[in-house]
């Protein structure tokens, strides 16, 4: 069964674009990454999946149920971590966590205590005294304590220190191994690459790629660096050309033979041809130009 399935999901805010014709399918048990620049529509997608927003057209199913018709039932099995977790002023951390559990009509005291200990969260503090990172931890416990079948995380690591990030992802991996579906929205690519099996990329409200992380990262583009006198005018398929003190570096996605014949005619001292960084690949998805050749 699909944990998340959207069909031509579209959301406009008045005339402003949110998301357009989004077809997304996440299998149950997957660790799924959702990548895109700011304003691409990641949060709009998530908020529609949670029933906070009504789609303009199209449909969304979460855990096999329509989010519009069975919002309340769906939310029972979902844990959501917002990118900016805000809680009621004046409440203590433990009161917020208890309130969250009470609203779910579950008693998850044991799990709550375990999570608070692992994340080193002081539950006696008042929420308005907390730093951004500590507020995030409260959000994490709220999202995880009832052991949901689906976790929807919107930029979960912002504000967390590296040690906490590691602990957090360890918890997520454990949950994933015991069957929980994780939907991770982020623009930190290394996070996606390390943890997710599949990922989708969204840009300007449209889904532009959805594949395994390996396949997304694998392209026939190479990063070429040459030292020496170089005239590259003869090459057509080059991008991102950087020249500095007698060396040139560029992304090449054309025929290898052509590259070599051009380079062979030049006075070159040194040459490296390497796989591009993941960042470079995604950067290309982000900016205009569409898919990779």
């Amino acid at each position: 069964m699909e944990a998340i399935k959207t069909t031509k999901l579209t959301k406009y805010y008045g005339k402003a674009r949110g998301i357009i014709d989004l077809d997304l399918a996440v299998e149950e048990g997957e660790f799924f990454g959702f990548i895109g620049p700011n304003g691409a529509g990641k949060s709009t997608t998530i908020r529609t999946l949670l029933g906070l927003l009504n789609p303009s057209s199209g449909s969304a199913e979460v855990l096999g149920k329509s989010i519009i018709g069975s919002r309340t039932e769906v939310l029972k099995d979902v844990g959501y971590l917002p990118s900016e977790a805000v809680f009621y002023q004046g409440m203590r951390v433990k009161e917020v966590l208890k309130l969250s559990a009470d609203l779910r009509k579950t008693d998850c005291k044991k799990e709550r205590e375990k999570l608070c200990e692992r994340l080193q969260l002081d539950t006696n503090k008042r929420v308005e005294e907390l730093s951004f990172g500590n507020r995030k931890k409260v959000g994490i416990v709220c999202a995880l304590q009832h052991q949901p079948r689906l976790l929807i995380l919107d930029e979960p690591t912002s504000g967390l220190d590296p040690l906490m990030q590691r602990e957090f992802f360890e918890i997520l991996q454990e949950r994933n191994q015991s069957g929980t579906t994780v939907f991770l929205s982020s623009h930190i690519l290394s996070e996606i690459q390390r943890n997710c099996t599949r990922a989708a990329i969204i840009r300007e409200g449209r889904l532009i790629a959805c594949d395994s992380v390996e396949a997304l990262a694998k392209t026939n583009t190479k990063r070429v660096t040459v030292h020496g006198v170089v005239d590259l005018k003869a090459l057509s398929d080059i991008r991102d050309l950087q020249t500095a003190e007698g060396s040139s570096s560029f992304l090449y996605s054309g025929e290898m033979k052509e590259l070599l014949s051009v380079l062979a005619a030049l006075d070159i001292r040194d040459l490296t041809i390497a796989e591009p960084d993941l960042e470079e690949i995604f950067m290309h998805y982000y900016t205009d130009g569409g898919d990779l050749a």
């Binding site: 908020r47 906070l52 927003l53 309340t72 900016e84 805000v86 809680f87 009621y88 009470d102 609203l103």
Partner: protein
């Protein structure tokens, strides 16, 4: 009823401050009465001969020199205005504050239906209004007894009941408006309560503006009329409560479908 509990806790400080303030002012007035009673002959004459000011507060119809007359005007204004402010503030903020303070995302991603959230929030507002009125009524009765006057049970009960209806109506109207708001609500709440108050004063002064009584709930809380007629104007009360119900229905219609941002 988790949310009712939560709302009551969240509103506790404001509730206590409003209840204490209203009760304190009313008790002060009641305890001042015996002292004023001796001079009431003159004061009463003075109050009933101030032209439109007298009419505006209904002092042309009742004797300010009796406890009932005094109570209807003085305490009526305190509980009328104070209670109206409290009810309007409660109603206007209860739904919109979630979005204003960015807690909507937390609340609405829990498995609680929107209708249930609206219902529990409405209950919490009504509970606070009931509680405030019960406390004020109790303290009023006790202090009237304490200054040695006989408690005019029927009139007192009717006046307080009228104010209770007024608060429910205003809370209902503001509750409806609250569902449409995303931020900045307190001004609207206070504005509505104040406007209603002055509409009644205008209606009292100008005969041609008497139709305003059908709009403002202060029309049926006029202490002088209640004391004179010995009953509430059922028509006005029903009409007023209907406004409140319309507000509440509007809140359900709007909030259940609202995009939360």
């Amino acid at each position: 009823m988790t949310l009712v509990k939560h709302e009551l806790k969240q509103g506790r400080t404001a509730f206590l401050i409003w209840t204490a303030s209203i009760a304190f002012l009313m008790l002060t007035c009641i305890f001042l009465f015996p002292e004023m009673k001796g001079e009431m002959e003159e004061v009463g004459d003075m109050f009933s001969s101030m032209g439109s000011f007298t009419v505006a507060f209904g002092m042309d119809k009742i004797n300010f020199g009796t406890l009932l007359g005094f109570y209807a005007v003085e305490c009526g204004n305190i509980l009328g205005l104070g209670g109206a402010f409290f009810a309007a503030l409660c109603g206007i903020a209860v739904l919109s504050k979630e979005e204003k303070e960015h807690t909507a995302e937390f609340l609405l991603t829990h498995p609680v239906s929107r209708a249930r959230i609206i219902t529990e929030k409405l209950i919490s507002v009504l509970l606070q209004i009931v509680l405030l009125n019960a406390i004020v009524f109790g303290l009023s009765v006790a202090s009237i007894a304490a200054i040695g006057e006989t408690v005019p049970w029927k009139e007192l009960w009717m006046m307080h009941l009228a104010y209770f209806f007024l608060q429910v109506e205003l809370a209902g109207i503001c509750f409806g408006i609250s569902a449409f708001l995303r931020r900045g609500s307190i001004g609207i709440g206070l504005g509505i309560a104040t406007m209603m108050y002055f509409l009644n004063i205008i209606a009292n002064i100008t005969e041609s503006a008497e139709f305003l009584k059908y709009i403002t709930p202060f029309g049926y809380t006029e202490g002088a009329d209640i004391v004179l007629n010995g009953e509430l104007d059922t028509g006005l009360v029903v009409l007023g409560l209907a406004f409140g119900v319309i507000g509440i229905v509007a809140a359900y219609c709007r909030y259940c479908k609202k995009d939360i941002q």
